[in-house]
Amino acid sequence: MIDPMRPHRLQQISSADNVERLRWLRDQLHEEMYALLPTQPVEEFNEQLNETHDALIIRAIMLAEEEMARMGKGPPPVPYSYLLFGSGGRREQTLSSDQDSGLIYRDLPGREEETKLYFLELSKHIVGNLVAAGYPPCEGNVLSENPDWCQSLQEWRERLGRWFREPEWEAVRYLLIIADGRCVYGDTGLADSLKSMFFSDMLNHPVILKRMIENTMRHKVLVNVFGQLLKERYGEDAGSLDIKYGAYIPMVNSIRLLAIQSNIASTSTLERIKMLVESGKLSREDGDAYEQAFICILHLRLLTTEQNEDQLYAGNGKIHSSKLTKEMADELKKSLKQGKRLQKAVYKQTMGRLM
């Protein structure tokens, strides 16, 4: 079923002329989407939701550009690319995802200082607009307004090189973040350059894969050796399942690692699985099984508890086990078993290649 509101909603967003209006549209979106969730296949729902998120973010960026112009700062001095990382980068945002972002701008020799200042200020407006629209900022401060994540292409190049040369724990984490980066607005070419740097560096430093494994494998899948679901045992979330870190993230991490090893630049997990099958890195059966499992997990992730604080749409990524029907729980168990199998396969394959 095609959502009849879809073109209308996108049109409304792209013509919103202030942040309050954006916020109002986002609140509308929430009501509509909740009604839509049970009626649609998860992939389609996810697609629509992320398309709408993208539209909201793009509009927030354009409004920020206008604000800069109104303040006499003029238009952007050089082309730039606004990047989304994390679930935004993977086009897997839920109704309560936070902001993870970065910015790349073209070098302007001789005017480095003022260019940087312009983009930092622009980013401040963008992040602020998005907060106003209900997107909580990233707790780890991976935000375009953070000078570390707002740099010229040349600066990014140097930084990436440094991370590859000295892959400490933090650096490896940043590289994994970059792998999910996606240009949501602006000059796609800049983002593509960054990505091609990433993949050619990857080829020259294959050992880094091992560090990436070490960095991601600590998130264990939520089943014990008897195949039972592992619930939170204590505290206010007792009885809940940590879908985000016990199901979603382990699969995302594993598929990302396979994609990186196979030079696949797609960022969405389902897209990555498709490309892995096409390039022969995964068998069709495995690909189908992982896809099914991931769709089930995406679905449950959309049902996780919302915790709206300070006017922000936030969530804890957990779902209480009593909210799951018997069928859902069985399907989740099946999916988690696939997730576990995937984790093991990726571990073996990656470590085996490097031995």
């Binding site: 264990k220 939520l222 014990n224 050796v225 008897f226 039972q228 592992l230 045992r233 204590y234 505290g235 206010e236 007792a238 009885g239």
Partner: protein, 454 residues
């Protein structure tokens, strides 16, 4: 060097000729001396287990109660010594009377002899000390249910009744020639007498006191109240483990043919198996190998083998320990689900494992070893007969029910008459401050009302 040694030896014979010419002590005297030393050593080991319990209870609870936990243990051991001397020992082991199937009577204000009586294998004073140490352990186990919220006065009153009456009656039934002893109940060192009795009293206490503030949420879910020092808790298990060789092997109360070493051997195996099983099951079920569960499992292995250490073969000791480790893991979960707050896991470690260890005799005891000890008969596997298992079930049910009712009467009356639990405010500031006036860790904790500037 050798020259010097000979010279010294020569000098010694001149100085102390008596050594060379003293009359040899009789074999019986030597035997008595060795037995006395062994039981004395066992008493010392069991008394030292109180140190283990101090660390166990303090480590498993919060900093604000640490001084209280440690201090009250020492205090109640002292009080228990007086009560047991005046009354308890007489109930447990006092002479023959018309009532002696159910209760001992005599030897109150026990007067220890200065030497062993003719034909005795040790002076009875050392037996008193050994039995006293057991009574004190059982009492300290009961404190597990009091932890972090009972008034100090309630410790005093309960000690009077528990060491004076409740514990000695159970001890009399099984060890003092009472009716369960007549049936051949096998409880070598006290899985039922010491551990189950203590745990049942702890259960009654924790139910009457109600859970600690903050343990359970309104919706019934539990919060984890972590102990303040896991190193203490681990060290406590080691001390208890070492002490347990006095507890079990000492319960032979004789050197004899060296049987006590066999008892020590099965004890060691069960303890190891308990810890291994608990670690594995916690890892398999929760995905994390939990230290607290592993420590509980080690203790549960020890508690379970306490009844059966003299009656079973080595392989059975391992099985008993392994099952105790798994049992204690699920038991902890069960009590939490029932919303029974068991701060130091006494109900699971001493209660459930105590029941299991006692019943295990009915399954694993061999005829040969039962004959050797001279109590009861072989269990289901060796003899194919349910007789011993039935006796074991009886002793668990009857002893458990008796302690349950008796403790309920005593603690329930205490609750009505004098109050059992400290006030909410006192509980929040901690018992160190509310009951004793100073924190056990004064530098880590600030008294309420003391500002940073103050």
């Amino acid at each position: 060097m050798i020259k010097k040694t000979f010279l010294a030896l020569g000098l010694m014979t001149i100085l102390f000729p008596v050594v060379a010419f003293a009359a040899d002590p009789s074999g019986a005297t030597l035997d008595m001396g060795l037995n006395s030393l062994w039981v004395m050593l066992a008493f010392i080991l069991v008394l030292l287990m109180q140190g283990g319990f101090i660390l166990l209870e303090a480590g498993s609870t919060r900093m604000k109660n640490a001084g209280h936990v440690a201090g009250k243990t020492i205090f109640t051991v002292g009080l228990a010594a007086l009560i047991y001397w005046a009354f308890g020992y007489g109930i447990a082991f006092g002479g023959e009377s018309a009532l002696s199937k159910f209760i001992g009577w005599g030897d109150f204000f026990y007067n220890a002899p200065t030497a062993a009586a003719e034909g005795d294998s040790y002076p009875s004073g050392v037996f008193f000390l050994f039995q006293l140490a057991f009574a004190a352990i059982s009492l300290t186990i009961a404190w597990g249910g009091f932890a972090e919220r009972a008034k100090l006065a309630s410790y005093v009153v309960f000690t009077l009744f528990y060491v004076g009456l409740i514990y000695p009656i159970v001890a009399h039934w099984i060890w003092g020639g009472g009716w369960l002893a007549d049936h051949g109940a096998q409880d070598f060192a006290g899985s039922t007498v010491v551990h189950l009795s203590g745990a049942v009293a702890a259960f009654v206490a924790t139910v009457l006191l109600k859970p600690r503030i903050g343990k359970f949420n309104k919706d019934g879910s539990a919060n984890e109240i972590l102990g303040h020092n896991q190193v203490f808790t681990a060290l406590s298990v080691l001390i208890l483990w070492v002490g347990w060789f006095g507890f079990n092997a000492g319960s032979t109360v004789a050197i004899g043919d060296g049987f006590f070493t066999y008892v020590a051997f099965t004890t060691m195996l069960a303890a190891g198996a308990g810890g291994v099983a608990a670690l594995l099951i916690s890892w398999a079920v929760t995905g994390k190998s939990d230290i607290t569960h592993m420590l509980n499992g080690t203790l549960a292995g020890l508690v379970a083998i306490t009844a059966s250490c003299a009656f079973v073969e080595p392989w059975a000791a391992v099985v008993i320990g392994l099952l105790a480790g798994v049992l204690v893991f699920y038991s902890v979960k069960m009590f939490e689900k029932l919303k029974v707050d068991d701060p130091i896991y006494a109900l699971s470690v001493h209660g459930m494992a105590g029941i299991w260890g006692t019943l295990a005799n009915g399954i694993f005891a061999t005829q040969e070893l039962a004959d050797k000890v001279g109590v009861g008969q072989g269990g289901l596997i060796d003899t194919g007969s349910f007789a011993q298992l039935w006796v074991q079930i009886q002793s668990v049910v009857v002893a458990g029910a008796f302690v349950l009712v008796a403790s309920f009467i005593v603690l329930g009356a205490m609750k009505k008459i004098m109050g059992f639990r400290v006030t909410e405010e006192q509980e929040i500031v901690g018992l160190d401050l509310s009951e004793h006036g100073v924190y056990g860790y004064p530098e880590q904790l600030k008294k309420p009302g003391q500002s940073v500037q103050g």
